[in-house]
């Protein structure tokens, strides 16, 4: 099975930071508040990752297969 990861639509992202709230396991914030994705979306994180994708006010987050 191919690995899943989070991909950010950078021009759309406005650093609202909800992804960090919902998925702290693999999302950190840079000094300006933009997400830094630090790991893969593993099976146990999949539900939370989907929630983060749905919650993003800019719809700037996607789960992609690598």
């Amino acid at each position: 099975m191919s690995a899943r990861t989070l991909r950010v639509d950078w021009p759309a992202c406005t650093a609202r930071g909800l992804c960090r709230e919902l998925l702290p396991e693999i999302v950190e914030l840079d000094p300006w508040g933009y997400p830094v994705v630090t790991g893969e979306v593993t099976e146990d994180l999949l539900a939370d990752a989907r929630a983060a994708v749905r919650a993003c006010p800019q719809l700037a987050l996607r789960i992609v297969e690598r």
Binding site: V8, D9, W10, P11, A12, C13, T14, A15, D30, P31, W32, G33, Y34, V36, R62, V64
Partner: protein, 409 residues
């Protein structure tokens, strides 16, 4: 946001040296009549014949990524009728090879695109002209007016901005949105202009396609090496002289196009490229994998030689100031990170900041944008850190081996 001017201006004038293939016989002039006199009529090829031509010689894209053209062609022809794009928006000020082709060999470029359009059954051909090189743009328009083909070509003019030539930015321009990069969820060859497969390449790549169609693979393989047949264009800029465009055989020594006894370091690959010592430059060969191994990827074929006595730290700092101002300003990490990086780098030049902060900011911007602008900027800075430890130490002590640090005005 600063708007620092480019330390290397977009040239009004360039010197195009005659070469062994693309730039052969440029003294004939750029007319269609002279072009047909030299090359004869444009043969009509099937898609599989075209695929065999570009696959046989392993043609790679000349925009900087060196992506295999045959792979792109296969992807673009897997679905609906593809859109074709000839990209002459050379956003990098230190690169003038596509400008050189527009001035001297516009019909070789167009032959590549028209042959592909016929082979692919494309009904849509776009030519993207540079907004800041008006003479080259006008020469290309004149060449288009000479063409007898019935396929209508749509002309576009790119913004005079570093990132305007980036593939997704060009797709945006073609869809009449601002000429700036956006996130590509799929390659342009799969889903580009209005979601159609889009075969987008720069002028040099199309000129190589044209040459292959007109002359065949055996002729193409006369030059270069077995592993890397053919030639490539290089733009060589030295301090205080007009940029020169050379056509060299792949595998040939880079020093052939460098001024003798310069003995100073240079940048290979342009503003998004890498610093190389004089020693590395003198033993390097012009080869995509070869230069990759040396840690100085060829990119779009730019060689910048600031010359003896100029300070590589100051030049890097000026380039990064400029690149920070050239950000489209849409992606947060680039919008915020590049000015921070430029400022940290200035600190290194003035000896007030350690390199740790610079390294940290480089790591923070890479792979975090819609385009590779932050990645390229960070590549140049990292190469400076690797290549000039002694100079950096000298600046930290308040000195500079090259010349006194000028106070920024």
């Amino acid at each position: 946001m600063n708007a620092a001017r480019s330390p290397v201006p977009v040239p009004d004038d360039i010197l195009v040296r005659p070469g062994p293939a693309l730039l052969r016989g440029i003294a004939d002039g750029p007319s269609l009549a002279a072009h047909r006199e030299r090359y004869g009529a444009l043969p009509r090829l099937s898609l599989s014949e075209l695929g065999d031509l570009v696959g046989d010689v392993g043609l790679r894209g000349r925009g900087g990524a060196a992506f295999p053209f045959a792979t792109k062609l296969a992807a673009a022809t897997a679905g609906r009728r593809p859109v074709l794009v000839v990209n002459l928006a050379e956003g990098e000020p230190a690169s003038s090879k596509d400008m050189a082709l527009a001035l001297t060999r516009p019909h070789l470029v167009l032959d590549g695109a028209y042959a592909a359009a016929a082979a692919l059954g494309s009904r849509e051909l776009h030519v993207v002209l540079p907004g800041d090189r008006p003479v080259a743009a006008e020469r290309m328009r004149a060449a288009l007016r000479e063409r007898p083909e019935r396929l209508r070509v749509q002309e576009h003019t790119a913004s005079p901005r570093f990132v305007a030539g980036q593939a997704r930015a060009v797709v945006e321009l073609l869809e009449r949105r601002p000429n700036l990069p956006v996130t590509a969820w799929q390659p342009e060859a799969v889903s580009g202009v209005r979601g159609r497969p889009t075969l987008l390449s720069n002028a040099e790549t199309w000129a190589h396609v044209g040459l292959l169609v007109l002359r065949g693979t055996a002729d193409y393989r006369r030059l270069g090496t077995t592993a890397e047949p053919g030639t490539t264009l290089l733009t060589v800029t030295t301090q205080g002289s007009v940029p020169q465009v050379h056509e060299v055989e792949l595998g040939s020594p880079l020093r052939d196009v460098l001024p003798a006894d310069d003995g100073s370091p240079g940048i290979v690959g342009g503003f998004h490229g890498s610093w190389a010592t004089a020693e590395t430059l003198s033993r390097a060969r012009v080869s995509v994998p070869g230069l990759q191994t040396l840690g100085i990827p060829l990119g779009a074929g730019v060689v910048l030689l600031p010359g003896p006595g100029s300070c590589p730290l100051q030049l890097t700092s000026r380039i990064v100031d400029h690149l920070a101002g050239q950000s489209a300003g849409r992606c947060g990490p680039c919008l915020n990170g590049l000015p921070a990086l430029a400022s940290a780098l200035q600190g290194v030049v003035f000896g007030t900041e350690s390199t740790a902060r610079v390294e940290q900011l480089c790591g923070l911007v890479v792979r975090r944008g819609a385009c590779a602008h932050p990645d390229g900027t960070s590549r140049l800075v990292r190469s400076m850190l690797l290549t000039f430890p002694d100079e950096i130490a000298a600046h930290a002590r308040g000195g500079c081996a090259a010349r006194p640090v000028e106070v920024a005005s």
